[in-house]
Amino acid sequence: MKLSYRTAMREALREALRADARVVLIGEDIGKYGGTYAVTLGLLDEFGPERVRDAPLSESTFVGAGIGAAIAGLKPIVEIMTVNFSLLALDQIVNGAAALRHMSGGQLEVPLVIRMATGAGRQVAAQHSHSLENWYAHVPGLRVVAPATVADARGMLATALRERDPVVIFEHVQLYNREEELADPAPAVDLDRAAIRRPGRDATIITYGGSLPCSLAAATKLAERGIDAEVIDLRSLRPLDEATLVASVSRTHRAVLVDEGWRTGSLAGEVAALLGERAFWELDAPIGRVCSAEVPIPYAKHLEVAALPSAEAVVAAVEAVIA
């Protein structure tokens, strides 16, 4: 069956609501409005206002309420409309959700899922175009995942809900309209393993989330030029599947990271550091990084495009590490 990423997320939510009475949805405009990105469209009608709870504009508080509800026996799925607004809830996430199990000596658990839209590319300018996945991936106690395909959008939530601890799911805004064929029933998703989306021998392109499509496009172009690039989708940003990464680079000996975050302090930097530690003797060239320009993302299309990773930039970076 053909499904969009948006519909896949919605089906995953519907399935969760059906399967477990403890699941409740909390977020701004997820009910009456139908969800800013229409992910939750129809769920209020189907499950009612007790289970699909529209929250007022108060990110810190409704995320904190999700934490409390998780502690006390529910399985809340909180939508923060976009990662941009999650800045207002970071204290609750870092000092609450991520820390409570450890700091309570293992007594409390916070089985909370936080979903948020992320990324740029829709000309919504500096305050609405952040990619802060790496900030979240820095925090012990969190698991962070980024579905980059429709299959992962469909399957990751169920796996996340089996965790007894907080999971943050990043959904890139550019992916919602993408469609894919999907088996029915959709296959289960393993959150622990990075996925090799395209096998290759000459270089490893490592990416995640919204940058997968441009990485794959780059691989196709490279193939035309006789370069066989492997493309790895991290899927789990915390923890990282080091084994898959090291194994790939041990085969190809060259790596390029593609990450929509700003370059300095990017997740790409962490992965590069990791490979430098774990695969130092395997590397035949410096690792390349294709990231966003270090600038608040501008509105004008041509400037926004110039600021973000592109297939061309990935091609150039792979050629550079091979040269």
């Binding site: 139908g34 919504v124 300018a125 500096a126 600038v295 004008a300 400037l303």
Partner: protein, 322 residues
């Protein structure tokens, strides 16, 4: 108060200029010339039209992402506004901000802020600077009913009251925060009472009645300037259009929208001034507005894109430290 003919014409012109500009924006959005988020003010024009002329040139303004009208009435040229929406270098933020981020330092128009509630603390600081520097200027900050639910709103009321900052808070209560109706957003839907709970002087007025707004604004601006203390005006209003261009408006009835449209601020004023303001007056204002907008769009169309080489310019003044 009954406005004089001249006053009425000025208010009418203000509202019509906004209305026409935004109708054009909607068209240009459909045509793909404007992209990203676009939030129209149509239906709410009486607020900007009543408040902004009451401010002095030295006063400062802070707005939201629904701020085209405020910028226009503040004196930012329609050319610059349209060029900004087109993403052109002639725009009032060189095309970097778009619809949500209009700025004009020259007019002390300090944004265009797209994080709900985010402009409030900034407005306090501007007022503090003017107070410390003894300029006699006040700061006027606009925000929606939804912003009042954010904790920052309360923090800002408290700090403004504690520090006695000359801020005029203008809450544009259009009954919805995106798709969330007032009573589903606020346990206390009479928002001015929330401001008053922090001992900030507060009132509620009919935001569809430009005359009432102008009157309240005049008094409030004077009061803030004299007392150097904050004041809060809640304007009851309604947006006639969708929240943004992506909104399917599932959350409200057509009938409700139609009801409010009967209180269209432009029509209300025209009716009130029947006999004083004529069809011909209106036609003249409309054609003036249309000319202005046509010129603005032509300018915007012709304005060049900012060179890509300038992408990193103005991250910091020094260029370093980016």
């Amino acid at each position: 108060m009954t406005p004089t003919r001249d006053q009425a014409l000025a208010m009418l012109r203000s509202m019509i200029r906004i209305r026409r500009l935004e109708e054009r924006c909607a068209e240009d959005y459909a045509a793909g010339k404007i992209r990203g988020f676009l939030h129209l003010y149509i239906g709410e024009e009486a607020i900007a039209a009543g408040i902004i002329p009451a401010l002095a040139a030295k006063d400062a303004i802070v707005g939201t992402y629904r701020e085209h009208g405020h910028a226009l009435l503040r004196g930012v040229a329609a050319e610059q506004i349209m060029a900004e929406m087109y993403g052109k270098s002639g725009g009032c933020a060189r095309g970097r901000g778009g619809s949500m981020h209009l700025f004009s330092r020259e007019h002390r128009f300090y944004g265009g802020h797209a994080i709900v509630g985010g402009g409030l603390p900034i407005s306090l600081g501007i007022a503090l600077a003017d107070k410390v520097r003894g300029t006699g200027a006040i700061t006027c900050v606009f925000f929606g009913d939804g912003a009042v639910a954010e904790g920052e709103f309360h923090e800002s009321m408290n700090l403004a009251a504690l520090w006695k900052l000359p801020v005029l808070f203008v809450c544009e209560n259009n009954q919805y925060a995106m798709g969330t109706a007032l009573v589903r957003e606020h346990a206390e839907p009479e928002l001015y009472k929330l401001a008053a709970s922090h001992r900030v002087g507060a009132e509620r007025i009919d935001g569809m009645d430009v005359v009432a707004v102008a009157e309240a604004a005049g008094q409030a601006v004077e009061r803030v300037r004299e007392t150097a203390a904050p004041w809060f005006i809640e304007c009851s209003t309604y947006r006639f259009r969708a929240h943004s261009m992506f909104d399917p408006e599932l959350y409200r009835d057509k009938a409700e929208v139609e009801l409010w449209k009967q209180r269209d601020p432009i029509t209300l004023l025209v009716k009130r001034m029947a006999g004083v303001v004529t069809e011909a007056d209106i036609a003249a204002i409309e054609s003036g507005a249309d000319d202005e907008i046509a010129r603005a769009c032509a300018f915007a169309e012709a304005s060049p894109l900012e060179p890509v080489a300038e992408l990193l310019r103005d991250v910091r003044a020094s260029g370093e430290g980016t």
